[in-house]
Structures are given as structure tokens and as C-alpha cells.
């Protein structure tokens, strides 16, 4: 496993509720949030999803990690806004009309396109935030365990690959040091010179990695890989916390289906923004509250030791 990933998961020695959650529960939460954000176009519902995920992230003390995700999200947001605002010519409320530009014509910026861009930007932030939550709550080993039952070849390859990361990094540094001991100077020259000197290092790294792969395969064979049917044992403890989150997700799905059937989650941006009613607001509030259940459980976990022993 990678050094950074290990450090990330060891940052706090004390046990946290998020470390107790089953990877399947978190994966279900991520899937539901992502799919709902793609279903919904109404800004109220997208905002409800965003706030719910943000509050869960906040309660899990992942604000610093989330901020780096949001920075990446902002880059994408700029592209979304650019395409929607400058290149889409829909919408009735014209905010700006440029003189004719050769090849592009007249740039027409409308209020509706601006709102659509903002709405879709919000959708992107919901998706990115949900992935951030998944990334920092689920340990990579948890994902391997999740795959391990049925897709054991993929799980094995994935597990080996994650464990080879630090080894390969150490190999690279070792080969560089050996080359430096032999008088190769990797610093202070032009990029062309440095590239020429790095090529043998990469070649040796590839050779030694493949040699290790060969030994690894021999070792797997010696331990009986591929001989007969494979047995497996998995002990996943579904705690009350997991069960409550799954129930909340089911409630979210039921509520969402009802809202989708009523047409409440759709929002027409063009040609003019549609009006919003109080029903939309309350629907979004309920949806958000159900999705905040992991945050409520985490607060309970922090505050009441009795609850901690049960969750």
C-alpha cells in the first residue's frame, strides 16, 4: 500500500465511526448520491445533496481533504461555465451581446445559460464531494475485500499492485543512488542530458520489477495458486450504524422516486427559468436530512459512549 494512503488512514490512532463502516455501505451511499445528482436538474435538490454530503464530510473531519478536491472541482467548473455561458445561445434574458467576431459570430450571454452553468457546476461538486467521502472513508483494503468473494483474480491483482507501489518507489530511489555512486550526476544539467541519464534507470527499474513479478508468481504457485477450487472466508460485521445508513438510503430512494414521478426534481432553465414552489423546498429538505444520517450517527458516536458501543 502507498505511503500516503497508509499515513492518511493512520492519521488518528483513535477509532472513528467512519472506520467502522462497511465499504459496501459507503459504496451504496456514493452510488445513490451520484445517480440522484444525475437524475435531478432542480437546483434545490442539487443543493440539498451538496449540503448533505458537505455536512457528512464536516462531521467526519475531512474538511482539509475535501478542500483539495474542491480545487480540482473548480477547474472543471470553469470549463462547464465557459461552455454553457459563452458557447450556448439559448435563453431569453440577454445579459450581454458582443459585436460580431470572425468565425464565432456574436457572443450572446444569457441569464438562463449562467444559471444552467451554475446548476451543473453544483452537480459536479456533489459528485466530486461524494467521491471524496468514499476515498477517505473506505480503506483500499476494504475495496479489495469487497471484490475478494467473487472476483478474486482482480482482487489479487489489485492487492498486489497496491503493495508494489512503495516497493517500486524504493527501487527507483535505490537505482538512482547506485547510479550517483557510479558518478552519474542527475542534477544541474539541461533536460536533454537528464533524460538521457534517466533512461537506464527506468530500464533497470522495469527489469527489476518484472524479475520481482516472476518471483511473486513462483511464490504464488508454491502456495498452491490455481490448484483446484478456491475457498474463501469473509467476516463482515454489519453494525447498527451500517444498517441505519442503509435504511436511510432506502428512504431517500423511495422519496426520490415519488418526487421524480411528481416531476418535482426537474427544472426548466430554458427559455426562461421556471418558478419554484414551497413543495420543492420541503422535498429537498427531507431528502437532505435523510442523507445526513451518517453525520448524525457520527455526532452521536462522539458524544455518547453508550451509543458508541452500539454503533
Amino acid at each position: 500500500m502507498g505511503i500516503k494512503t497508509k499515513e492518511r488512514h493512520r492519521q488518528s490512532e483513535e477509532e472513528k465511526m467512519r472506520h467502522r463502516l462497511q465499504p459496501a455501505t459507503v459504496l451504496l451511499y456514493l452510488t445513490v448520491v451520484v445517480f440522484l445528482s444525475l437524475f435531478f436538474t432542480h437546483p434545490f435538490y442539487l443543493l440539498a445533496l451538496f449540503l448533505a454530503v458537505a455536512i457528512v464530510i464536516f462531521s467526519f473531519d475531512l474538511i482539509r481533504e475535501w478542500s483539495s478536491y474542491l480545487k480540482i472541482g473548480l477547474c472543471f467548473l470553469v470549463v462547464i461555465m465557459f461552455v454553457n455561458v459563452f458557447l450556448v445561445r439559448e435563453g431569453a434574458t440577454v445579459l450581454f451581446l458582443s459585436p460580431a467576431i470572425p468565425g464565432l459570430g456574436r457572443i450572446r450571454i444569457t441569464f438562463e445559460a449562467l444559471c444552467y452553468g451554475a446548476g451543473m457546476g453544483l452537480r459536479l461538486l456533489v459528485i466530486i464531494s461524494a467521491f471524496c467521502l468514499f476515498m477517505y472513508v473506505v480503506h483500499p483494503d476494504g475495496i479489495i475485500r469487497l471484490l475478494g468473494g467473487r472476483s478474486y483474480k482482480i482482487a489479487l491483482a489489485l492487492g498486489l499492485s497496491l503493495r508494489l507501489f512503495p516497493l517500486m518507489r524504493a527501487d527507483f530511489l535505490r537505482i538512482m543512488q547506485v547510479q550517483q555512486c557510479r558518478g552519474v550526476n542527475f542534477h544541474g544539467q539541461g533536460w536533454r542530458e537528464r533524460t538521457v541519464k534517466t533512461i537506464p534507470v527506468i530500464k533497470v527499474l522495469l527489469l527489476s520489477s518484472l524479475e520481482r513479478a516472476f518471483q511473486l508468481a513462483e511464490s504464488l504457485q508454491a502456495r498452491g495458486y490455481g490448484l483446484g477450487k478456491r475457498t474463501s472466508f469473509m467476516r463482515n460485521r454489519w453494525r447498527i450504524g451500517d444498517k441505519l445508513i442503509v435504511v436511510a438510503i432506502c428512504l431517500v430512494l423511495c422519496l426520490s422516486m415519488w418526487l421524480v414521478m411528481r416531476g418535482q426534481t426537474e427544472f426548466h432553465y430554458y427559455p426562461r427559468l421556471q418558478s419554484v414552489g414551497s413543495g420543492d423546498f420541503f422535498g429537498a429538505v427531507f431528502l437532505g436530512i435523510f442523507l445526513m444520517i451518517p453525520a448524525f450517527l457520527n455526532w452521536g458516536w462522539k458524544k455518547w459512549p453508550t451509543l458508541r458501543s452500539r454503533i
Binding site: 451520484v34 437524475f39 467521491f131 483474480k153 507501489f165 520489477s209 511473486l216 513462483e218
Partner: protein, 205 residues
């Protein structure tokens, strides 16, 4: 109709189909170890280049693996290197599309190997250039379907136009890595392919 969800579902199904094929196939311990090693190699190579958008050797590494070891291994290395490297660089909605994009690059290189004897640097470079654009276009499909309205040719081209400089940089990096490392990596991987394909025969007396 929600095209973004349809695109996501189709992509997940495509990846699962390839993964299922791999699970059902007779895969030796050597192949598993090789896939894991090349996945790590391709994944780790992304990290030092993470600061340069689109300039990274992963596509080249996935393609050269597919070229030497076949389309299935190419797809697995491509898909898994996206999955594994994103544990370090950050998972996001892009992971799924990167898995598909790199997986397809590995498959195409595997197909090219069937048409060519040995290593053809020119043909490999041309394919790597095409794969550079293809990878970018696959990433753009979802962006266009999920975040742009209306879905017409004008907005389609506009979305692709925005990513064109980055895709071109990716193409450039693929060609550069093919020119520098193409023959070296081919020779090394071919040597290990021969080494890996040793069969043990049962001795009967």
C-alpha cells in the same frame, strides 16, 4: 431521457464485461503478477507527471503492455492502473472514464500487434497519437452529456474544442515516450514474455 446516466451504465457494463471475461479465463499466477507489476508501473508513472496536465507516460505503458501481452492484459493493465493510481491521486467521476479510456488503448495496441511483425515504432507512434485523442474524447463524452445543454453538434464540438489543447499535449507525450522508450520496453517485455511462457511438463515413468 437522461443520457448521462445511460452513458455511465454502459461504461460500467463494458468494464464489468472485460473484468468478467478475465475472471472466467484461465489466468496463471505469472499473468496476475505481471498485470499487477505493469499496473503499478503505469500507475506510479502518473505521479511525477501529475503537475503537467495530460503529459504522462501511462498511455504508452498500457499500450506497450497490450502490444506485447495481448488485448486482454492490455485492458486489465489500463483499467487497473487508473483505479490504483487514483487511490493516490484521488478518485472522482473521472476514474470510470479513465479506466475505460486506458483499457481501450491497451486493447487497440493488442490488435495492432496482431497486424505487425515485431515492433514497428512508426505504427505504434501513430496508434499512440490516435489513442491520445481517443482517450480525451472518451473523457469528454460524459462531460458533454452530464453538464451541457442543449445536446447538439454545436455544443458537442465546443466541448471537444475546449479540451483539444490538452488532448494534443497527451498525443505529444505519447509520441515522445514511444520514441524514447518504445524499443527498449518492447525488448524487455518480450524477453519476459518468453520467460513467462515456460511450461512445466509432467514426468511419467
Amino acid at each position: 431521457m437522461n443520457w448521462a446516466i445511460i452513458a455511465v451504465v454502459i461504461t460500467i457494463l463494458c468494464i464489468l464485461l472485460f473484468f468478467r471475461r478475465f475472471e472466467k479465463a484461465e489466468v496463471s499466477a505469472k499473468e496476475i503478477a505481471l498485470i499487477a507489476t505493469m499496473t503499478t508501473f503505469a500507475g506510479i508513472s502518473r505521479i511525477p507527471f501529475a503537475v503537467f496536465p495530460s503529459f504522462q507516460p501511462t498511455t504508452f505503458l498500457v499500450m506497450i503492455t497490450g502490444y506485447v501481452f495481448g488485448a486482454q492484459t492490455g485492458f486489465m493493465v489500463g483499467a487497473m492502473s487508473a483505479l490504483v493510481s487514483n487511490f493516490f491521486l484521488g478518485h472522482g467521476p473521472w476514474t470510470l472514464w479513465q479506466m475505460l479510456g486506458w483499457g481501450i488503448c491497451g486493447v487497440l495496441a493488442g490488435f495492432l500487434a496482431k497486424q505487425v511483425q515485431g515492433f514497428s515504432r512508426k505504427r505504434f507512434a501513430v496508434l499512440s497519437a490516435l489513442c491520445g485523442y481517443l482517450f480525451g474524447w472518451i473523457q469528454n463524452i460524459w462531460h458533454w452529456l452530464a453538464f451541457v445543454y442543449p445536446l447538439n453538434m454545436k455544443t458537442f464540438w465546443a466541448t471537444y474544442l475546449v479540451s483539444f489543447p490538452f488532448d494534443t499535449l497527451h498525443v505529444f507525450s505519447n509520441i515522445v515516450f514511444t520514441m524514447i522508450f518504445g524499443e527498449i520496453f518492447y525488448a524487455v517485455l518480450k524477453r519476459f514474455q518468453r520467460k513467462f511462457s515456460v511450461e512445466y511438463l509432467e514426468c511419467t515413468e
